[in-house]
Symmetry: C3
Subunit: 572 residues, 3 copies
């Protein structure tokens, strides 16, 4: 009997899996992964432009362009340099003031975001998913509103009548009456974002961000224009659903006047030529056509087209009151405790990918259960891609993947921990290096890197295939350094320490270290090293075994006075 | 006990697999899918040329080149325009007269074909598959011939002797005797194609088409030269196995003289420069070498090389008598009834992908059984990729995926319904819009589109990232409009209605609507919209809820006199 | 009973699926494949440069550049020709003298190597894998050394303490004492390579090669720079971990002086301009930084940087004594017997891919067990990708995939037999053609080919889409011929016979033959051929059936005096 039960349930489970999934197997474990795996399979690998990339010299750069708006500003790193063009990536920083709303838009390139500071609410529109969240005037309104909407939705989704019938019976003028401001409203899931979160945004997905906190919300993003999901060219394209970007000003100089800009939000007279031409996509359609499509009057369409709107692309929206479900304090603490188990993983770094996957899978599933528990979900669909996990915290020290109490720590977000990244083909690494500590010299065998400094500064050296340093200098907070695939890099923190976020153009980095316990050097027989470097066997063994740490190196020598930190700037 | 043990170990084994593998599952259901999934995995993603794509203006185009032959003509859309180059696609229309045979050839790009009119027989050579069809002089011949051939095949495939032994014992001069014209012949599966079918043709697969009907067979095709399966450059290349293309004429002007061309099949003196150089690939080989390879005399090789053949690439083959198995009338009607269940699916559009898959999967399997039932198949191989489903009807109204009795209907063929498309990475959408109805404004987040008008006309607007219309005008039967990824589009049918076939460069489209019941606007909280557009909450709710239909919109307003169709041409 | 029946049928179904499908499931059999499948999924498909490829003429080429070093030389085929640029591949030949050591390095492109002659030891560094091999001064040392290291490793990997703690307790000065030359040393797995082996080297993986045999070790390699795993541009880049490449000389002329070069290993004064700039990557880093990273003194770092090293990139390392486990003679013979079962496979060529897979899978697993059996492996990890199979013999006649005793044989290595190739997306075909025999005219529908002649010579014809021969001539030992995707090719061996290795840019070739038993011609109904070529039905049947062999054709006609081999050179 037990056998029968087990067999049947397993078969049911299997068939369910077979029916639900088109992709793979591991998705039994990771339902989200399955869907995205499937999508990833569907992605195109299209044409791209490319010239030769000599890469004789790269630079640590700050943003070249700033657009200031009513509720914040956007800074772009210029793509007109060899390392950015050759890597096929763009970089951007958003600063949204408290009460600022980054208007709905979508882009032609996958985007990975890191929240440097602050917190807010993000809306991401997943086409075809139901509106499962409610926002009303008050929490009381929400409670009462529920049942009525629920029933409408029940009809809307469960019914089998023609849409136009429903349209006639329910729709049309219903909202034109006097109910007005007191109406409850439904919309798709909103996501709370906080300092230290990494957010994954597929190309073509409409998103908006609202800063409901008390401090500025600062984010930096990689825009992977060379990604196969972008089928057009290597230009970054942003499609606005609202606002009138041409009303925005631009700050020319690098960094000058940044402080006042940040605090006053003032706009400048100098306009950027291209910006003048940009309008939201509704403004390109015929007013009459849109009035018909939305079934509203022309006046409202003119508001939609925002042609007289001068607020720019980040507007002040202080009357916006979005209520999100939040973890209770106890829940959060429990989650942290859960995550703590990952601390031991460094000793099997690289090898135990599957082990990790199983473990993360487990953690993730539990999170999903916890997430899903509070929802009324009548079908399985909402459990899967409509509730797709798009962000993950990378700052929690207890979740560090690599930790050396004398050198620092590193956390990573990749497709093992955030399955949607297998579709975006990007990953992120958060690193913290204590004063004077250094990283193992290493190279990435399958990705370019875009390293942004969030705090402190460090001396970094990057060496290319010709064996000379293409970068050797100090990088400091707010700077970006793009490191091509296969180029070797070493970082040494200054006396202030060094913190960074590193985005890579692959969903799982495949990095090789050149020194330390897990290095290529240690994998090679001492006799080979002795012959290769024309040294004695003892010396070869020193090269292999003298540095026992694997990834983050404490500056042991400096304690003994051998290493003298020098003015890296002077040399650079 | 034994059962339990087996079950458990199988479960362990399975779970191990699930943990270890990131591969796939659903293929247990869809053996064809599995094979193609595999192939797709093997495909290369190679180099491509690309320049910047400003895309300030696109045009609705008609074919620029026509090649007329004995049995029909071919019309090419010129690739020398920005939208075609940037999308990396070419487009072609074939018109084959009754009794016309499009000679065997292959191409360097995946091709998706829509049969606009007529019906015919298509042969697609899948390398290594057995010859499972027979054609003889008469049906009587077919019936008798079976067993004898069967036995030869049994030896050919099941035996373990060296091929040359077989060659000696069976081959060689066998056919040189007087049996001649009364011989039965075996060949690979033939496929019946009909108006409304979509055909998928992988790159490099040899195919030919014969019009055995009474009316012209008209097809249009997308040629996806930027597809990763083409590893060379962005030029479209056709490799002829027969015929002498250089004998073909060319009609210069656009459309002029089309009617006579169509009916007379006359050839023009004016030759195209490149056409002069083209010959079939056999003509490039040494005659002696081929004579040896085919083991025939040189005279026959000269026929193979077709150097004196002036009939062009579509020849008259009226003596060709291909007998195909056909559905009986009852079977066809039953199949239609089966397909009818898909009508209800619109209300869960986008979300229920998996639900759909299960349903389609089921339908497909049944079809396969029915297909396979009549065959004598001694091994499993023929059940899988040798009988690969390469075409599917998209015109049957009962199979519409989206239907609105006041606006029209849409049917799609993608890798869910036709698994081979996961290898081609293309999909097709068939749309019919009733008079004055319009489509929801929408954009495709993961594909370019090539829209060909099969009947009627419509006003179409396309808006790019700068917010201005890159196309605004009327398109009519026979025209092609290429819409880049992420560009928003809206179509309004004229008084005559509008019918189209839309090919997209991804095997599953990921479309976002901008108005209506499943739109991005509806997914955004009303408060956010109110702030974004600087409108009242009531107005935001109108934007969200006034249009209750999801994809195809009836022109409600026009009934109330608000919408006045204007001369779109004049504006454009 | 019902349960058992259900279970069994489900298992049968499942097993059938496992056998049928390669994607996913077959990896139950092949854990390595699973891991690589996963990796393959993660790979990026990035930007590439491309111009138009007219391909009017291709040439059989010999290497244009030679670099001579102390212990051997390297010859490069120049990439500056249309076929090489359009195919996106480079080609290289290494000659390592007995006792020569090719220094550790990595490359930006996947590489597939064929060992033309000799044998040696190859080290491939897989990041994060444990050091499971030991090399010492003597076999006695190895035996004793084991346990002590084992315990250290036990602590290193199994412990849960911080790495730095371990670093302090174990590390640091341990090796600086007088133990010196008598120390045992551990390193990653070494691989024995022999004439006839195919080696797969992913991009970015550090590798070195040592010739411990008595004769020259000669290898040829394809470098697939257009592969998606290379995200930068189409230049081939080599990153050296040791040596000072700028010390190398270069031999200008083609082939002249090759004999003396080979035997003397002399270096030339004339330096190559780029070579002057190349140094190993350590030399680009700051000496102090490296001294700290390795925790050694600056003097040793200067050796690491090799700035005064004049030995070049292949050094003499005659004192190098690497002890590898080897098969006993009995084991080898048994393995051959195992492989012999593949001989019968030609008759189901193309079709029985899955059948083959099952068979190969089985063989491979057994090999792995045998491999793994001798190791002390405490976790499953080493069983999987750390012991990843990177090479396979392709020369063993008993393992031929296609064999015709009157014409020759062909063996292939693809992702079915060497799963890592699904990540590299390359395959190799080894062919041997007896005197005067010829290959079926064929084209590859999904890959470019790089054919290198290992012995003898042949007349080859290559025909492109315009129907004229882009190559028609004799190719001989040491020459390379690049054949674009879809171009048709036929080879006829000279009186001396012909042997080649053919690398293709896909992990499973999809080839279509144009004559013979498995050809496109045979798949087409005779009536269609009769109409296509304007011949009689009897003649069509001759075209289809006169050549009974499938892939390698004996020159039957020549026996009967009809075929007269001509001076192919004269015609070319």
């Amino acid at each position: 009997m037990a056998t029968r039960g087990t067999t049947s349930s397993f078969m049911t489970f299997s068939l369910l899996a077979f029916l639900l999934l088109h992709g793979c197997v591991a998705q039994l474990e990771l339902p989200q992964s399955g869907w995205w795996h499937n999508l990833r399979e569907q992605q195109q690998h299209r044409l791209r432009a490319k010239t030769d990339c000599r890469v004789q010299r790269i630079d640590a750069r700050e943003p070249e362009q700033r657009y200031e708006f009513e509720g914040g500003y956007v800074e772009y790193w210029d793509g007109n340099n060899e390392e950015s063009e050759c890597a096929g990536i763009r970089f951007v920083r958003h600063v949204i003031q408290p009460g600022g709303l980054l208007l709905p838009h979508y882009a032609n390139a996958p985007q990975l975001v890191y929240v440097v500071q602050g917190n807010g609410v993000q809306g991401v529109v997943i086409p075809g998913c139901a509106e499962t969240f409610e926002s009303g005037e008050s929490s009381e309104g929400r409670r009462e509103g529920g049942p009525r909407w629920e029933s409408e939705r029940g009809r809307g989704e469960g019914g089998r009548r023609w849409e136009s019938e429903r349209g006639q019976s329910e729709g049309g003028r219903r909202w034109e009456g006097g109910e007005g401001g007191s109406q409850r409203d439904r919309h798709q899931k909103l996501r709370r974002i906080r300092q230290g979160d990494v957010l994954a945004l597929p190309q073509g997905v409409t998103r908006w961000t609202y800063n409901d906190g008390d401090s500025e919300l600062v984010t930096v993003s990689i825009l992977d224009v060379a990604n196969d999901n972008n089928q057009l060219d290597l230009n970054f394209r942003k499609f606005f659903l609202a606002g009138n970007p041409s009303s925005s000003g631009r700050q020319e100089g690098r960094r000058e006047g940044r402080q006042e800009g940040r605090h006053e939000g003032r706009r400048f007279g100098g306009r950027e030529e291209r910006s003048d031409e940009w309008r939201n996509i509704f403004s390109g359609f015929d007013e009459e056509l849109l009035a018909d499509a939305f079934n509203v009057d022309n006046q409202l369409i003119r508001r939609l087209q925002s042609q007289d709107d001068n607020r720019g692309f980040i507007v002040k929206a202080e009357r916006l009151n979005l209520v999100l479900p939040e973890y209770s304090r106890e829940e959060r603490e429990e989650e942290f405790r859960h995550g703590g188990g990952r601390r031991e993983q460094e000793w099997r770094h690289g090898g135990t990918r599957r082990e990790q996957e199983r473990r993360h899978g487990g953690t993730r599933r539990e999170q999903e259960w916890r997430h899903g528990g509070g929802r009324d979900s009548s079908n399985g669909l909402e459990e899967t891609f409509c509730t797709l996990k798009l962000h993950q915290s990378i700052d929690n020290p207890e979740r560090a993947d690599i930790f050396n109490p004398r050198a620092g720590r590193i956390s990573t977000v990749n497709s093992q921990t955030l399955p949607v990244l297998s579709y975006l083909r990007l990953n992120a690494e958060r690193g913290i290096l204590y004063r004077n500590a250094l990283t193992a010299p290493k190279y990435s065998a399958n990705a370019h890197s875009a390293l942004y400094v969030t705090r402190g500064n460090a001396r970094i050296q990057v060496v290319g295939n010709e064996g000379n340093a293409v970068f050797d200098g100090e990088v400091r907070e707010g700077q970006l350094l793009i490191i091509p695939q296969n180029f070797a890099v070493v970082k040494r923190a200054s006396e202030e320490g060094f913190e960074w976020i590193n985005f890579q153009t692959n969903d799982n980095a495949f990095n090789t270290k050149l020194a330390g316990r897990l290095s290529a050097i240690r994998s090679i027989p001492a006799d080979v090293l002795a012959n290769a470097y024309d040294i004695s066997r003892e010396e070869a063994l020193k090269l292999k075994y003298n540095r026992r740490e694997s990834t983050l190196f404490s500056s042991e020598s400096s304690e003994e006075g051998r290493y003298r930190p020098r003015d890296a700037e002077a040399k650079a």
